[in-house]
Symmetry: D2
């Protein structure tokens, strides 16, 4: 099957390659020459304009976007619209907010274009191990693209599925990432406690490796954790600074909107915010309050004066 891959960052390039390996014809597009060069090195063709991409694909076309969520997706759609024809299928495989995907699908439907939101998990390992794909949108269009999904997934019959109408794919991916935040935080806390008792359990990398087999907490995230700890058990040189990328926030907002208590996913997000706050005004104020009622004094940020 022929597919145009829009956005040749790591995710897009890897997916194009896996599609090609699966017997499909992936034509890449990226305005950045280096991105196209990486694809060429793998023997895949690419073009440098959307016009060229649209021209290179037989109608009805299949286009797959792997571009950053938000404005870049809207800009890409705006640029594509004059180039597409009724019956074309446009896939958003990125981490878009599901309500944006619903809005975009509605708008494109006016023009006879089918918009599928495909939540994609697997990260940098997807090329080798396959991607988990959650497809939202028109069921018939999803069925039409099943050869692509089968090639991208870990195996043709598993790891992908049509999960619901427009928005459902990105909704499912959003929740997936919320769960991921909670799992990661659970492991991080556990190993942080262990690390304080090196007198008792000196080799936490070894313990992580041990748990990979037979324990209740075995998981792919643990596999990666064990690998990270094996290479650098003290995590030397790594700052305690944790970004977050939108989907955790959306999950928290969605839970509140739906009146569902999600304390652990929420707290996992909050911990990431906390990790990036070097100032911690709240803690300063707590310290000031303790001093005010109890005369406890405060720890000063100023170095102690010399003799």
């Amino acid at each position: 099957m022929q597919v145009g891959m829009i956005g040749l960052g790591r995710m897009g390039a890897n997916m194009a390659q896996r599609l090609q390996q699966g017997g499909h014809e992936a034509i890449g597009f990226d305005p950045v020459p280096e991105a196209r060069a990486r694809l060429a090195a793998e023997g895949l063709g690419s073009v440098d304009t959307l016009e060229a991409l649209a021209g290179a694909l037989e109608a009805p076309r299949v286009l797959w976007m792997m571009v950053p969520a938000g404005a870049p997706v809207d800009a890409t759609i705006a640029a594509l619209q004059p180039l597409l024809s009724p019956g074309d299928i446009l896939v958003d495989g990125g981490n878009s907010f599901y309500k944006d995907s619903q809005r975009r699908a509605d708008a494109l439907q006016q023009q006879g274009i089918v918009y599928l939101d495909v939540g994609t998990s697997g990260g940098v390992w997807g090329l080798a191990e396959g991607y988990s794909l959650m497809v939202g949108g028109d069921a018939a269009a999803s069925a039409r693209l099943s050869p692509l999904f089968e090639a991208l997934a870990p195996a043709p019959d598993r790891g992908w599925g049509h999960v619901g109408p427009s928005g459902a794919g990105h909704f499912a991916k959003m929740i997936h990432n919320g769960i991921e935040y909670g799992m990661m935080q659970a492991y991080a806390e556990g190993f942080a406690i262990l690390q304080r008792r090196a007198d008792l359990v000196p080799d936490i990398a070894g313990l992580a490796e041990l748990w990979r087999h037979g324990s209740v907490v075995r998981s792919w995230l643990l596999d990666l954790t064990a690998q990270a700890l094996a290479g650098n058990p003290g995590l030397d040189g790594i700052a305690p600074y944790v970004p977050d990328s939108g989907e955790g926030r959306w999950t928290v907002a969605e839970a509140i909107e739906l009146d569902v208590a999600a304390p652990v996913i929420t707290q996992s997000l909050i911990e990431r915010l906390r990790s990036r706050d070097g100032e911690a005004f709240a803690d300063k104020l707590l310290s000031a309050m303790r001093d005010a009622f109890g005369g406890h004094g405060v720890k000063s940020t100023r170095p102690a004066a010399g003799p």
Copy 2:
């Protein structure tokens, strides 16, 4: 290798069986005839007194306790002490508190008996899939028992290890369970949010199955979750009532003692407490306070009067 298995509940019986399958000779002990009968049905021998067990084993003996944490372990040790000889090895494979294990190891050492604390994970699936074993205590004794560990583990070279001195095995298992609490809560919250949007993602059992392959959140707990949801997607008939069994509490207490922030593991425990509190006095008081300052009224527990 010959081993006496003390306590033939599900864990003990399964482990005896797996040891036997691994070429070892497991002799069971349980005061309950039904427990011994189950073992006999599997072709394993058992005795009904500790005296008989001690007599049946060649010195230096290897005894493995799978009894409930706390008083039952102390009682078993007290009953065993007169029957054991220097050089014997006593294993506690249960979920004991690691400081208890340290105390017990110290006490038995006086008598020349080696006490190993072996944190054991794997649950009811361990018989088929193998157990994860975290061994604490004397390294030489651990090495002596390696044939047993190799048989119990998922494979001889993985899933078990000597993790540190006395207490380290149960300490590691305690943290393991703390992590498990956090992971479970993360999944539970995610699926609870999904379940409220059945309009968008109607088949959450299918989504759980999908995620098992290629997604970042794939894990053994997810495998079980997918299975549970497949059989009963609405979780009908299951009360929202979640017990906790000690290790979560100990992990929380340990984190606080060590000044380590473990908000997610802690909150996972608190949610279990909350799930069992039908009264929720705190919520009643919040409702009363809102009424007191805002005149918002309260929801009554009394059914509305008829017309």
Copy 3:
């Protein structure tokens, strides 16, 4: 000073009355006859159309809305716009979202109308004790209305202030309510623990009263809590069901947007969501998972069968 009070619910009616007591002339408006009748019983005049209200006030007019946040505020503004003249001041004293207030102020400014957002705290006790007023918007307009603020506040020189540009008043009120959620939850948890140890502290209402004097936790919320507990120490008949009214959610969303960790305010909101979730799907799933890996069984929602 003359002021038109729009919305004669408890808050609006009480504020009109306090203004009148302070020597101002408050003219009420409410479409509901009963609401006007209550005002009349206090000797205050009111009208039944906004047209009549606009006609009754001398220009430049001062109008003060106490209507529910959201659509009702927009509807009131839309109905008022043709009736107002440049130089009029319109106050929103309700619990509007601060970004809505900024938008409304911008729109009305086009027409030469000044819009002030006045966060108002004090609840049903404000009539007797005065209101806390956080004024956002044009400083000169705020100064012009100072006689009204002085009458509404607990004392002319305290409890009110111009806190910043448009939106600042409602922003400050939003944070105020976030703090309120956290404080309420802290008290609620403390008394819930105490209530479980009635063997030790049998009279928690008495303890609440005791703490009102000299303790570090003394506060107005504690005064109300003591009063609520004095009348009903077991909180009998009150369901553990706690509504939330928007500002807690907005505070949580704002904290996340600003990358500020606010775990306690957030958790206080989550506990309210939890209090209203009779089903607790997450807890059901936790129970199912425990059974799946540990064979622990689940608590059934079905009553046990008879003999």
Copy 4:
């Protein structure tokens, strides 16, 4: 009434002084000369041995300890025991763990000595404003000391009370401090959010002052917060480092022991632990995990190399 005050730190010295002002005779004891000198400067007598103190008091004696919780209390009791007679009353006014107080009361009762545990709140402001006193232990002995409580409390008829049997006073104080942790954290978070929006609310010290009058969140802690912010609105020079002093931990442990969900009090404690953890191994591991599955890179602790 005559009373021996043991421990002349700030709390003990202030309380001795307030008792003296209330018409009682307070005789101080402290091994540290400077502590006794401070008392002398206020015109109060003191001695430098417990023997001298016991000798100076008429039987039945009243002794009041204000010494640090834990070992110092046990040491003081051990030193006092040979010096006391049946009928003497010994008060522990410090922050002891309530189970310790129960144990001590039981032990002293053997000797005919009454032990009262008096939870004391009020901090450095107690001298001027009075202390909140929660009395646990024998009711008759509590009644006998009522003149002392009346002098220490904010007013004779309020702010103190006999709250239950031995341990109840310190139990109540423990919960009091747990609530205090939650309230402090709620304020701290609210002001931390505000501080990020100085564009909107530039004067948070002024807002704190405003809220002191008429708002729902008015409290004594807010009074102190307003004062602290007024003097140093940016909290310059104060490190975001918050100690905790035992009672928060005990409250958390007690809540868990009683199966009461106390998420906010617990999270307030955890935030303090977090504030003191400069390393934050958990956050480092989260960062490493993100890099491992997503190739997101990590923030390095090493300064970027020069050109």
